[in-house]
């Protein structure tokens, strides 16, 4: 399944550039085939056993370094995998008549498909090196996407994105190799493996405390940049603002999750002891991220940049949930990832459409969306409500339990500290309501500004947009009412991870 998009991309390479519709068709079909396979995976997946890896493929790959081609799915990867499969076709549908300038649908769509391969691969890899390979595959297409199809500051934004992430990956791979050599099995021998399951099982046995802290530090920087956590977040607003709509959506919906997924899948189970020592740091930085992101939002004059900063804040909640090391918190975090992926992805879609119509994202110049394009305005309203965590919509179930979980962190962690973080994070939600409602008010209420008032070319939501958006809106609502759909899948796998972390801490 991972490689389906690549086949599509290969097919598109041989089709001449002029036949744009054909390209769009192939890309869409490819991604739909991937969705089909995803549905088949759901069918084959035994939800009673969501705790353990299923549908495992295990083949020899690079024998010399004992790295194997292992792929598998458990309750933790499942929602994120489906999120990826779900978002990509919608992005492609949106692209049907929204290929950003300077055109060249062929290259653009090929890049999206390569991105999809990288993302899916990262979520299903069960070998550190394989994970690393897919993790990195994502970099280059994103770089080109921002650099070629981005806004005015695109060159600066793309290189900043690339260098930040590359720096993180360099430290990450060093940590991986250190794990390879240092983790010891039950018999006291070094494991010398990159197999995630075996490494998690060993739980960092045989690593001295300080060494573990350093290795975790490497992983922390690697994943933290991707998330992005404060203070590594500075690439994000630039990248988001400059990226084309499709790039922003994929970036927000899926790429950021690679970082948080890495924490839950790799950093915490493999080094539970170090995770305990780092947890307060993560919690503090996450809380700073929440407040900083919110304040950043209040200061923004650009629609897209504001959403980007709100991402920093939302990922702060996710990280806060993770830092509690409790199954409650991590469950909330995984839910938060999915919810954020849907809601923020949707907000970026809207931003893209607003830009299409008004050719600006200056909040000051916009206004009266509800009068001029009522449907678009109401969708924006819906998404801002979801984003600020209104109960009944998906955002609530990511944010609220994450805050609650900080009330009772895992044994051994400072309760006082986490409760302080909890209070501050709760204040963050008020700020979130503030900036989102204020945004909505400025953009949607009032009268359209004079320059656009009589512009008849501004039209409401069109068919391709409806097709791309309706499923997302539906899911936001569905997960809002029935959060159990996700929690039930993730809980077994997450509990196992949290239990391992508890064991060490207690």
């Amino acid at each position: 399944m991972t490689f389906v998009p690549l086949i599509g991309a290969a097919a598109m390479m041989v089709v001449p550039r002029a036949q744009e519709t054909l390209h769009k068709g192939i890309a869409l079909i490819t991604s739909l085939v991937a969705v089909g396979l995803g549905v088949a995976v759901i069918g084959a997946f035994d939800f009673d056993q969501a705790k353990s890896m299923q549908l495992v493929v295990d083949k020899s790959w690079i024998e010399v370094i004992n790295s194997r081609f292992i792929m598998g799915i458990d309750g933790l990867s499942m929602p994120l995998l489906l999120l990826t499969l779900f978002i990509v076709p919608l992005v492609l549908i949106y692209s049907w008549n929204h290929i950003p300038s300077p055109g060249n649908a062929k290259a653009f769509l090929i890049l999206i498909l390569i991105l999809e391969t990288g993302m899916i691969g990262s979520f299903v890899s069960q070998d550190l090196i394989l994970f690393f390979v897919f993790f990195e595959v994502v970099l280059l297409p994103m770089y080109f996407m921002i650099g070629v199809w981005g806004g005015e500051q695109r060159q600066y934004a793309s290189i900043k994105f690339f260098l930040f992430t590359l720096f993180g990956s360099a430290l990450m791979i060093l940590s991986f190799i250190a794990l390879f050599f240092l983790v010891k099995g039950a018999d006291g021998q070094a494991l010398n493996t990159f197999d995630m399951a075996k490494l998690s099982e060993a739980g960092g046995a045989g690593i001295a405390k300080t060494t573990g802290l350093v290795i975790f530090g490497g992983l922390f920087v690697g994943f933290g940049i991707k998330v992005p956590m404060f203070p590594f977040h500075t690439w994000l607003p630039d990248a988001h603002t400059q990226a084309p709509t499709q790039g922003s959506v994929i970036l927000a919906a899926v790429l950021l999750k690679l970082g948080t997924y890495g924490f839950v899948r790799i950093a915490i189970p493999m080094l539970p002891e170090a995770a305990h020592s780092w947890a307060p740091v993560i919690a503090i930085l996450a809380t700073i991220g929440i407040i900083y992101g919110a304040l950043g939002c209040l200061a923004q004059t650009d629609f897209k940049r504001l959403i980007a900063f709100s991402s920093v804040a939302h990922m702060g909640y996710v990280m806060l949930g993770i830092s509690t090391l409790t199954s409650y918190g991590i469950n909330a975090a995984v839910f938060g990832m999915v919810a954020h992926g849907l809601i923020t992805g949707m907000l970026f879609f809207i931003a893209g459409s607003v830009k299409d119509r008004f050719h600006t994202l200056e909040i000051k110049r916009l206004g009266g969306l509800l009068l001029q394009t009522p449907k678009l305005g109401w969708i924006l309203g819906f998404c801002t409500m979801a984003s600020l965590g209104l109960p009944g919509l998906a955002g609530f179930w990511g944010e609220f339990p994450a805050i609650l979980s900080a009330y009772q962190p895992a044994d051994g962690l400072s309760v006082a500290l986490f409760r302080t973080c909890m209070v501050i994070a709760a204040i963050g939600t008020v700020l979130a309501a503030g900036y989102l409602l204020w945004l909505f008010q400025r953009v949607a209420f009032g009268r359209p500004s004079e320059e656009f008032e009589n512009d008849s070319s501004i039209h409401d939501v069109v068919a391709t947009e409806w097709i791309a958006w309706a499923p997302i809106l539906f899911l936001i609502l569905l997960f809002g009412f029935l959060p159990g759909i996700i929690f039930n899948v993730t809980n077994p796998a997450v509990s196992a991870i949290a239990a391992a972390a508890q064991l060490v801490g207690g």
Binding site: E63, I65, F167, L174
Partner: protein, 495 residues
């Protein structure tokens, strides 16, 4: 020497294993054929001469393959002075294929540039012969002779565009620096011989590992420094950028890949078969050379405006990476395989990059980075190929470069010494610095518009396309299935 030994009495002629020597013999035969063709056919030889050279190189691959398959284990000659084992065979195959790609790169360049064609190929072949001899040499004499055999033709090739002042500068600078380095190295070797009483590397190794004297330290340092020039490690790198820029570009590719790799092969032979007992000298020296090379090389590369010069400095930085496993040669003998793997992948991606530069220069007549502006608009194929090579150089999976770097990092961390940990962090930071200038080329090619809106396509001759195809395929295959290469390299080292 044989006369000397004969007078000593009891001398028996060494047994020659002709199968083991077959690759060298085929190459030598090709060189003779080239010379005869030139003498007999004169001008008429021109169209066929490069084809002959290519066929000769491919021909010498045949015995290399049969030797690999023959499974008779290691073949030794001349009392262990000339060894044909699987690691030597891997390197020989690498040198021969590199040589073949260089011939492909040269075909149109030399023919259209009105150079001395048959001499050009004859000299190139001589140099390649020196390299494959180097791969087997386990003896000071053998190392020295093969080094000269591969260097002297290269000095001439660097100055091949003799009406061009910069090419003459390139040749002269390379020659003077090379001779100077050889002098230092030879002095070191003479000290080694004085201490060890033999030219055999293993014998010297035993002799020098026992005691610790200043003479030995000096000998080791001098010998390594001599090769430091050859692999253009900082601070012995100053010749490289000027020589690379001035020399004809195919020759530059040859120097940057094959000649440098040969220098590393010599270092491998010396360090891993001889100096292991003296790692108290080797490790700090290599640490300094390695850390300086990668840092200085990358920082200067940031400021280059010429692609070839940039590749030269990137080559210096990569020499730094390749030197890194030598720091832990004592603790991690298997680090040797990471060096070999890096060399092969380095060869593929750099030759490929040079091939693209040569192809683009056919239209723009320039190797300035600015001349590649908007390349995507008029040569999308070349752009994609170049992007593959650049991404591989940065180290993005699934292209070969990532595994090359990974192997080196792994060897260093395995070494688990303070030096190694320090070096691996320096290496990681350098990777990011390097990405900046590689991406600059990518940016210029993809994001900017062609100068003057000139989007006439570039005509790329078939030989260049073949060369690029070989490099792209190698870069991809070794990236997706690094096992192929890594297994071969580690089997070659006896597991």
């Amino acid at each position: 020497m044989s006369a000397l030994l004969a007078t000593a009495g009891g001398w028996t002629a060494p047994t020659l294993d002709f199968h083991a020597l077959a690759p060298e013999i085929v190459l030598l035969g090709t060189i003779v054929v080239l010379i005869i063709a030139d003498v007999v056919l004169l001008e008429r030889a021109k169209p066929i001469i490069s084809a002959l050279a290519g066929i000769g190189l491919l021909g010498s691959l045949v015995p290399i393959i049969t030797l690999t398959v023959s499974d008779s284990g290691t073949r030794e000659m001349f009392d262990g002075g000339y060894v044909v084992d699987s690691s030597a065979l891997l390197l020989k195959a690498f040198f021969v294929i590199t040589g073949y790609v260089v011939v492909l790169l040269s075909t149109n360049y030399v023919a259209e540039g009105d150079y001395w064609e048959s001499e050009y190929y004859t000299l190139t072949m001589c140099s390649i012969l020196g390299m494959i001899v180097m791969a087997s040499s386990r003896d000071l004499i053998g190392i020295f002779v093969s080094l000269e055999l591969l260097s002297i033709p290269a000095y001439m090739l660097a100055g091949w565009r003799k009406r061009d002042v910069r090419s003459s500068e390139a040749g002269l600078k390379y020659y003077l620096m090379g001779v100077f380095a050889t002098g230092i190295m030879l002095y070191g070797m003479s000290l080694l011989y004085g201490v060890g009483g033999t030219t055999d590397l293993a014998g010297i190794g035993t002799a020098i590992s026992g005691e610790n004297s200043e003479v030995i330290t000096l000998a080791v340092i001098f010998t390594i420094i001599g090769f430091g020039f050859k692999v253009s490690a900082v601070p012995f790198h100053t010749w490289a950028p000027d020589t690379y820029e001035g020399a004809p570009t195919p020759v530059t590719a040859f120097l940057a890949v094959a000649s440098k790799a040969a220098g590393f092969v010599a270092l491998i032979n010396l360090v891993y078969y001889c100096f292991l007992g003296r790692s108290n000298v080797v490790a700090p020296l290599m640490f300094v050379l390695s850390a300086l090379s990668m840092t200085v090389g990358n920082l200067i590369a940031l400021r280059q405006t010429n692609v070839v010069r940039m590749l030269a400095y990137s080559g210096i930085a990569q020499a730094g990476y390749i030197l890194a496993p030598f720091v832990v040669a004592d603790q991690v003998p298997s680090g040797l395989s990471s060096i070999v793997v890096y060399l092969v992948i380095y060869g593929a991606m750099n030759l490929g990059a040079f091939a693209v530069v040569i192809a683009v220069a056919r239209k723009t007549r320039s190797a300035e980075i600015d001349s590649m502006r908007g390349l995507f608009q008029f040569a999308p194929g070349l752009t994609v190929a170049m992007t593959v090579f650049l991404a591989s150089l940065i180290g993005i999976p699934p292209l070969g470069g990532w595994y090359a770097k990974f192997g080196i990092m792994k060897a260093l961390i395995d070494g688990a010494t303070g030096w190694a940990y320090a070096l691996v962090v320096i290496l990681a930071v350098n990777t990011v610095v390097a990405a900046t200038y590689y991406l600059r080329i990518a940016r210029v090619m993809w994001f900017e518009d062609a100068p003057d809106g000139d989007i006439a396509p570039v005509k790329v001759p078939a030989s260049l396309v073949t060369a690029m195809a070989i490099c792209v395929v190698a870069t991809l295959i070794f990236g997706v299935f690094p096992g192929l290469l890594a297994d071969a390299a580690s089997v070659a080292l006896g597991g």
